[in-house]
Symmetry: C2
Subunit: 346 residues, 2 copies
């Protein structure tokens, strides 16, 4: 079962239509995998300089809403504008592209205005509280804040897709150590999303089934809750990558209700705690992969949202950049077994 006794294998991620190389020769034992850049550094972005902390709200970009909404109560969550947004809510959306479609005499260059929204979700008023430190209902509240902000943004006719993501740790892209996540509303359907939808539709057309509904308990399972399962995907792009998938078919994250949000909060908490324990509190990212809004019907039979968690244990180098193929030294079955067996004292 140990990776060392295996031959390398190339697996296709049929959800994303990507190849991944599983390469035991480059592996340590899966149980020995630890992050070298533990993010538990009390010195970076310390309390006294943190605009995300309670009482320093005036140092932030404008607030969009808070939870609870009562301005005289102590807030638990704040959704604010990003002070350094990658996209601008203040410029005109492009109706057409500069350069236009390629034709004789055109260089083929295509550009549109960088209209869009880039918000920040402050997950706790307390600097030292990590997302996984909240109780399941508290994490559920953060998830419901994502849902509420998506419901506001998806009404905008120029917005095609909304990406919710969290960067934890400087080497995973976090510029603030105070626990937060981000929401970006885009005027395009991003390439990863298009490729995923195309690939899932192809699976559905060939089999009559949704590829994520097909996943049930097997040697890739880590845990499950009332409404969700957590797995290491068959062709995991990164070592110890985790997907949390709703058991009932659902195209859009924003269809989540309070009960399911708290249930997902519990499973997300468990996954983050297992990852932190097993892998030495690594930098990580999580991303919610949902379905674009331009479809008239809200439920697509082939499109199923999920949450992807990626601990940052490897670097992206020339091979990965050149080919779009990742090299993963840990077989998914081994990663799932290790994560399944992590003991959490509650």
């Amino acid at each position: 079962m140990a990776s060392q006794n295996r031959n390398p294998e190339i697996r296709k991620d049929t959800v994303n239509n990507r190849w991944v190389i599983f390469s035991p020769a480059r592996a340590r034992r899966p149980s020995d995998f630890k992050s070298k850049s533990n993010t538990a550094n009390p010195n970076d972005n310390p309390l006294e300089n943190c605009p995300f902390c309670l009482g320093r709200e005036h140092e932030c970009a404008p607030e969009i809403f808070r939870v609870p909404p009562d301005p005289s109560a102590r807030w638990r969550i704040r959704v604010i504008q990003n002070l350094y947004p990658a996209l601008s809510r203040e410029i005109e959306p492009s109706s057409s592209v500069r350069g236009g479609s390629p034709g004789p005499g055109s260089t083929g260059d295509v550009a549109i205005s960088g209209f869009g929204f880039h918000d920040v979700v402050i997950e706790s008023p307390v600097h030292s509280v990590r997302l996984e430190d909240l109780d399941p209902a508290g994490i559920g509240e953060v998830l419901l804040a994502y849902k509420k902000r998506i419901d506001q943004l998806r009404c905008h006719e120029s917005i095609k897709y909304i990406q919710v993501f969290k960067n934890h740790g400087a080497s995973a892209g976090a510029s603030m150590s105070h626990s937060h996540s981000q929401i970006m509303a885009l005027p395009i359907v991003p390439p990863t999303t298009s490729a995923r939808l195309h690939s899932m539709k192809e699976h559905f057309d060939q089999t009559g089934r949704c590829s994520l509904c097909d996943i049930r308990s097997n040697d890739l399972l880590i845990d499950e809750s009332a409404h969700f399962i957590s797995i290491v995907p068959f062709a995991a792009t990164f070592p110890f990558e985790i997907w949390i998938i709703p058991l009932a078919h659902s195209s859009h994250f924003h269809d989540i209700d309070g009960e399911k949000a708290a249930d997902l909060g519990g499973l997300l908490k468990l996954m983050l705690r297992k990852m932190s324990l097993q892998l030495n509190n690594p930098p990580f990212n999580f991303m919610i992969h949902t379905t674009p809004f331009q479809d008239t019907c809200s439920q697509l039979p082939y499109a199923h949202w999920f949450l992807q968690i990626v601990p940052q244990l490897t670097v992206v180098a020339g091979f990965e950049m050149g080919t779009g193929c990742q090299i993963n030294p840990v077989f998914p079955e081994d990663a799932a077994k290790v994560l399944r067996e992590v003991r959490i004292s509650s």
Copy 2:
């Protein structure tokens, strides 16, 4: 002209069919861009432990060839097997896939054996010599070593694509500080390559022209030589990304001859020196993007090889991982201007 006065813009890389967000709010001034992790660290992987150094050939995996071939002469370049290969030359190539194509009753999981080649090109016998320290003809010899190894590997009927790449600096994925590059021969056409070919063919079908032949001098040009130009691409994925493109239409890198290799060696040297001076010797990757071998005709009218250089100045975070869209804080016109104006004392 400064990025700060611009609005964000979303540009399409029509060669690779990818969107890139150009986000001036997240930028320093382009001329202030410096790597924080300068790779000039004399302590990592020191001379006395380096198996790539002259006289320690017995500590390496088997040699494939050396330049010059005479075993009694001092070598300038060695091509060897990778001691920790991501793919194995010793297993059977898959003729079919495990799991098969998705159909009723199948989970849709697809896997093939990890057959392939993973070689290392040691670019100099001297530990402290970087690729850019060699003269143009010396760099040309390294390029001709790539060509020779590709010519050997492309005869193998299971090999569909060969990726040549260089990782410089630990955070760019280099595990050895002695200057080297790598060659991986794959039994699949990688996703980035498929997407690029598809996109270039689409441009050709619509315009009758090759998209890279169309690029000539403009505000994206950095430098040119007898047979090549260097540019920052219109939708550069990363800050200060550079493409070196052959002026005459050519589908395959391995069609390069001695004269063109030395000419490319000179332009590559100039780009690496400019990047090193301007950006504080950053970690970097370069990749040669060529055309798969399964096509019967060696020259495709729409497929044009090029060399991509990427200094590692940013991290890949949740947004980029989730969407496949990069956020680039430096507009290509600004990066090209900065690089054009770097003065090299020769």
